[in-house]
């Protein structure tokens, strides 16, 4: 039992923090918001070439590093802290999704491309009525030996800068399938959206009679796998939330140490100190659940942990990290006082990010309901037996 990073993981973390503090200061995020697609492709190129993060979640057999969720979480905490405008989350999630489908030429090609730096975005839902498999709003119709796709997939991270899109689609209103579609494909329109969190790259996809080869079909009966991928995604989002919250806490502690009112630095007022203490308690708590969830996801991917345990871990950290980031960034604005709501100060960017991530893939109370159902509605106390 060593619930701490290995030396390699610590080096990965330190390297990421060093790189990002040099190459991804907050100005980079602010500037990327002005770029088409909202992504800093130069920064991404540098990451892929110098650091090779894109290869982390790709199996060694496909040209990747074959590392796990703990390593991804280490990096996503660091990118989350910088609001780093790269497609790292998007491509890593796509790689993990591709890891769940059977070997095929198409799958191999995509994984290899990802390991080489190609951007592949994951497009799974229109988020109506919800973020899970039942929210899929693209239909797949067979058309000879080809498939015809129609519908929409929304809130696609980095969709507008992706070369390929992984699109979940519904066949005969029942089965979920997974397709790969090049972003330039006929009938596919990818529309970059400005988000309330301006520093986040988001796109909507509209598919009108998008006809693809049979080889584009990567998986059938993919509903359960999609649910699993989304649980992994929730853990990845939580890592960004923990990074975001930690930075918001740090910048707030720094600010209140400088700000003087009533002849005292406001950091000396209990009202300020106690809020900061609550912020830290929440951040560290979310972080503990995050590392547990990452370990659990790795065990699940190795086949040594049950699917229910992954689901529980993802729901726990989604609930905790979602509430935490929103509380911490919101309190951060409050403790900044007047300047906290100005465009000039950075804390508002973290607040917007915290809000965006809290709502992404399900709200914290929805995650708690997942836990409650497992504890209260099963015939056996499902979670606890784990």
């Amino acid at each position: 039992m060593k619930f701490r990073f290995t030396d390699e993981q610590r080096m990965l973390q330190e390297g990421a923090e060093r790189f990002l503090s040099e190459h991804s200061p907050i100005e980079v995020a602010r500037q990327a918001a002005m770029l088409p697609g909202g992504v800093d492709l130069a920064l991404w190129a540098r990451i892929t070439e110098e650091l090779g993060w894109q290869a982390i979640p790709v199996a060694e057999s496909h040209g990747g590093l074959g590392l796990g969720l703990v390593e991804l979480v280490v990096l996503l905490e660091a990118t989350g802290a910088c609001l780093s405008p790269t497609p790292f989350y998007a491509t890593a999630l796509s790689a993990l999704a591709l890891g769940t489908v059977s070997e095929s030429d198409g799958q191999q090609h995509l994984l290899k491309s990802i390991a080489e730096g190609t951007i592949v975005a994951f497009a799974h839902t229109a988020a109506q009525p919800e973020w899970g498999p039942s929210g899929v709003a693209v239909s797949a119709m067979p058309s000879g030996d080809r498939w015809c796709l129609n519908g929409s997939a929304r809130f696609v991270m980095c969709g507008a800068v992706a070369e390929y899109l992984l699109v979940a689609a519904l066949f005969e209103d029942q089965k979920i399938m997974l397709f790969s579609v090049p972003s330039t494909h006929d009938g596919l329109s990818v529309s970059h959206r400005i988000a309330l969190d301006q520093t986040r790259s988001m796109a909507d996809l509209y598919l009108q009679d998008v006809v693809v080869d049979g080889a584009a079909l990567l998986a059938v009966d993919w509903a359960e796998a999609l649910a699993n991928v989304l649980d992994i995604a929730r853990i990845m989002v939580a890592a960004e939330q923990v990074g975001c919250a930690q930075r918001a806490l740090d910048m707030t502690v720094d600010y209140v140490a400088e700000r003087v009112q009533f002849g005292r630095t406001i950091a000396s007022f209990q009202a300020v100190k106690h809020k900061a203490a609550d912020m830290m308690l929440k951040v560290e708590s979310a972080r503990s659940l995050l590392y547990y969830a990452a370990c659990t996801a790795d065990s699940w991917m190795r086949g040594t942990e049950r699917r229910g345990v992954l689901r529980e871990a993802a729901a726990m950290v989604a609930s905790s990290a979602g509430d935490t980031a929103f509380f911490v960034a919101g309190t951060g604005i409050q403790l900044h006082g007047g300047v906290g709501i100005t465009e000039e100060y950075d804390i508002q960017l973290y607040f917007k990010r915290a809000r965006a991530l809290e709502a992404y893939l399900g709200r914290p109370d929805e995650s708690r309901e997942v836990i409650a159902a497992a504890l209260l509605d099963t015939s056996e106390a499902g979670i606890h037996a784990a």
């Binding site: 988020a127 003087v260 009112q261 002849g263 009202a271 300020v272 007047g338 709200r363």
Partner: protein
């Protein structure tokens, strides 16, 4: 205890409602519901015209004495006017600082000459005011003011040097009242004086402050030699703190019920969306909507107790709770709006950053618990003024 208004008051209500219905048309139809908090920068020209129209109808400065063009209206009548104004969708008032702050201050502390020079412009909707209190290092700690007013014997004028901040409506105003240090040897509350300055002069620079919403409602106001005459000081030199604090007492809360009607419009919109998109079936959302409803009704009855005066069973010294209560309620409403809107709340309708009303509500309400006294300052005030608890020790940090 009587919650109903008298028949006479209800007749007054009809009169107000009728006048508003008849006048919020034509050129003014477009500005219905515009220009409130989060929207202050819009339709300034049109809203000034509307102020003049209001004034012609005799609907500005209701609470002022008749001598100065007011109606000496009762609290009830002022409440009713504010309620009906909000109900009719009356645009955000540009004249309210002059009407509710400058006016009562001059009536209490001003010279006859000052009253004659400044009150009619406010009453007629011709002269607009903004307030120059906060400074970068005097936010929560208002007494730490550094803006200096220096007597220039040569020109027989006071000259101003320094900076004010968070000045709402400065870009739309004609005058500013300024709390400035006239005795550089004094610190804290002492050595401050209270001045009335025209904004359109050399030595004043107004710069908008862009907010997290992408819009700019607050301003910085820089003074570098701007001037006013000896007769533009209210009270005597060194009286500034007393005048400024007296001014804070003038807010009798008559506008709170109007504010609450705007809140009700926002809550109704959220409820409407929740019913339409099915979030109304989610238990957590249901609890929060119920809480919002209860909270808004609480604000209403708090206000009515406060306005009913200081006898037992009523809120009086406890009136200090209102700011803390409404601002946190409103901030929570902003969050609720986002959660009810669902995923679409995350996307902006149009570039560069065109927020819809509820998105703007969500972001702008983060300011509610900060401006006009942060949550922290409000809790200090409640503890010290209403509960008689001791003050916090002041520090003597040199660093500012």
């Amino acid at each position: 205890m009587l919650l109903e208004f008298s028949q006479e008051d209800e007749r007054f209500r009809d009169e107000v409602a009728t006048w508003l219905t008849e006048h919020l048309i034509g050129q003014f139809a477009d500005i219905r519901g515009r220009g409130g908090p989060g929207d202050e920068h819009h339709f300034v020209r049109e809203r000034k015209a509307w102020e003049r129209c209001l004034a012609e109808g005799g609907w500005t400065c209701l609470g002022w004495p008749e001598q100065w063009g007011g109606r000496s209206a009762t609290i009830e009548q002022q409440v009713i006017f504010n309620e009906e104004y909000a109900r009719a969708g009356g645009p955000g008032r540009l004249g309210h600082i002059g009407e509710t702050l400058t006016g009562p201050t001059l009536l209490a502390f001003g010279s006859d000459d000052q009253k004659r020079r400044f009150l009619p412009g406010i009453r007629s909707g011709q002269a607009f005011w903004c307030q120059g209190y906060s400074e970068p290092s005097a936010g929560s700690d208002l007494s730490n003011i550094k803006t200096r007013a220096v007597w220039d014997a040569e020109t027989a004028l006071w000259r101003f040097y320094g900076q004010k901040v968070w000045t709402s409506l400065a870009h739309a105003s004609d005058f500013i009242f300024v709390l400035a240090r006239t005795d550089p040897k004094e610190k804290g509350h002492r050595g401050l004086s209270f001045f009335l300055l025209p904004l359109a002069q050399e030595g004043i620079d107004i710069r908008p402050i862009k907010q997290l919403t992408g819009t700019a409602e607050f301003n910085e106001v820089f003074f570098d030699g701007a001037a006013c005459g000896a007769d533009d000081m209210v009270g005597a030199p060194g009286d500034g703190w007393r005048v400024a604090m007296g001014l804070l007492d003038f807010e009798r809360g008559v506008s709170t019920l109007g504010q609450q009607m705007l809140f009700q419009v926002e809550l109704d919109e959220i409820i409407c969306i929740a019913r339409a998109n099915g979030t109304a079936r989610q238990p957590a959302v249901r609890q929060r909507i119920a809480e919002a409803h209860i909270g808004l009704r609480t604000l209403r009855y708090n206000s009515l107790r406060m306005l009913s005066g200081g006898e037992d069973g009523s809120l009086s010294r406890e009136a200090v709770i209102y700011k803390l209560a409404w601002s946190n309620w409103h901030r929570n409403l902003g969050k609720l709006a986002m959660d009810v809107l669902g995923p679409d709340a995350e996307l902006v309708e149009a570039g560069p950053y065109e927020l819809n009303r509820l998105q703007s509500l969500f972001l702008f309400t983060r300011a509610d618990t900060i401006y006009g006294g942060t949550n922290q300052i409000q809790r200090n005030l409640i503890a010290e003024r209403a509960l008689g608890m001791p003050r916090e020790p002041r520090g003597d940090a040199a660093k500012e």
